[in-house]
Amino acid sequence: MYFTLFITVIITAVFLVVAAYIMAKLLGPRTYAPVKGEPFECGIPTRGTSWLTMHVGYYLFALLFLMFDVETVFLYPWAVVVNKFGVMALASIGFFMLVLVFGLAYAWRKGALEWK
């Protein structure tokens, strides 16, 4: 049942946008000017292309995120059962948490958290 609803929600979202787009396309006025389609840059024609290789700093954080996010995902199922297992849960996940914290500390030490 919930899966059906889930699909419904997604479809609703798509419908909302597409409907509005179609309406705007149908009703909205249209004019043409030669420079209209050019990217806006404070009224000056763009020099070169915008799609250049970006600074590596961004990707560094993306990698960090990937690493930690994947690991935190494992915490979800564990979190649910903590109050059933009590101390055992703590012991069982303690090592894992240690790795996680160590990873962060390592990244920090290596200066991966500094924005360059």
């Binding site: 946008v17 979190a79 948490m97």
Partner: protein, 408 residues
Amino acid sequence: MFDFSIISTWFHDLLMNLIGCPEWLTILIECVVVGLLIIVGYALLAIALIFMERKVCAYFQCRLGPMRVGPWGLLQVFADVLKMLIKEIFFVDKADKLLYALAPILVIMGSIGAFAFLPWNKGAIVLDFNVGIFLYTALSAIGVIGIFLAGWSSNNKYGVVSAMRGAVQMISYEMSLGLCLITACILTGTMQVSGIVEAQSGPFGWLIFQGHVPAIIAFLIFLVAGNAEANRGPFDLAEAESELTAGYHTEYSGMGFGFYYLAEFLNLFIVSGMTSLVFLGGWCPIHIGIAEFDAVMDYIPGIVWFLGKAFAIVWLLMWVKWTFPRLRIDQILTLEWKYLMPLALCNLVLMTVCVAFDITGIQYISYIVLAAIVVLAIIICVRAMKFRSAFARDQKLVGVDIAIKKDK
């Protein structure tokens, strides 16, 4: 406490038995109804929030805000929406057309998907998976892709820079957002939205009461991270008005821009809603264990409780937005990776310890008081120091007086 599921089951029976629709038709009708409800609620909330924002900021800024269109300017936002709906939509020539068109859909998908997890009332939750919270984080992450694609595909330099900023900021803050939710799950022992709310129903059952210190820390971190996740100032780097003109949606006109505008406010509401769901007990009324008082509280319907809590937090976040200047990209990342995330991790352990040794519940309220006092003291000290440093530098007045020569 009124249970909304009565209505839904009644509606279901109506279709199945009285009218006698076949299974598939029933489900289809129900889905359509749900879809309509979502769209209507989404639109109405967005309009309410936009109006609220304008009035709130106007009053902060000694202005009046919209007041001429309709009574007290109530119709202002409708006028805006109407205008956007019929404003020209066009594509940039050199843009990546497919992604350019796809981006708003993703953003809205993310925000509506998350929106569907909010518990409006007992039994009035659209999506009530047993992995609800987990799925919520997954869905809300779609918005990041949308924003990134918008900036990147529109082939605009401000857009590209802003897309990079937005992506790196939002994914970073997902970390502490997730960790705070996990912290909550540890206490409630379930990821199902309704389950989480139920777990907070008892006297002083709200999580910030039950989980005292760790829960409060998680609550604060969640507020900050959520604010950053919703891309609102002081974290509005992605669409830094004064730096990148309009950021990732620079090239979007009419409704294309309108959807980002909607999504921004709805994300704000979703964050507030999630905060009230996870930490303030969703639609649970406040109970203090005295039967009469609790009974009176129960008379107030759950949706009022939920909306009340949510809008209180919305107002708080608006207050923050209109007060603080914008942060810089490196400062934002430092804040997340060096302060919030380690804190969230330690907080997670702390919560685990509390749960494992079963030191949760209202009797530890004293901890809260203690913590509150400490935090207050720290804040005051910091402010005081700031002031002193500032005014110390102010005193450095150097009167200069030199004999004047002019070559006359």
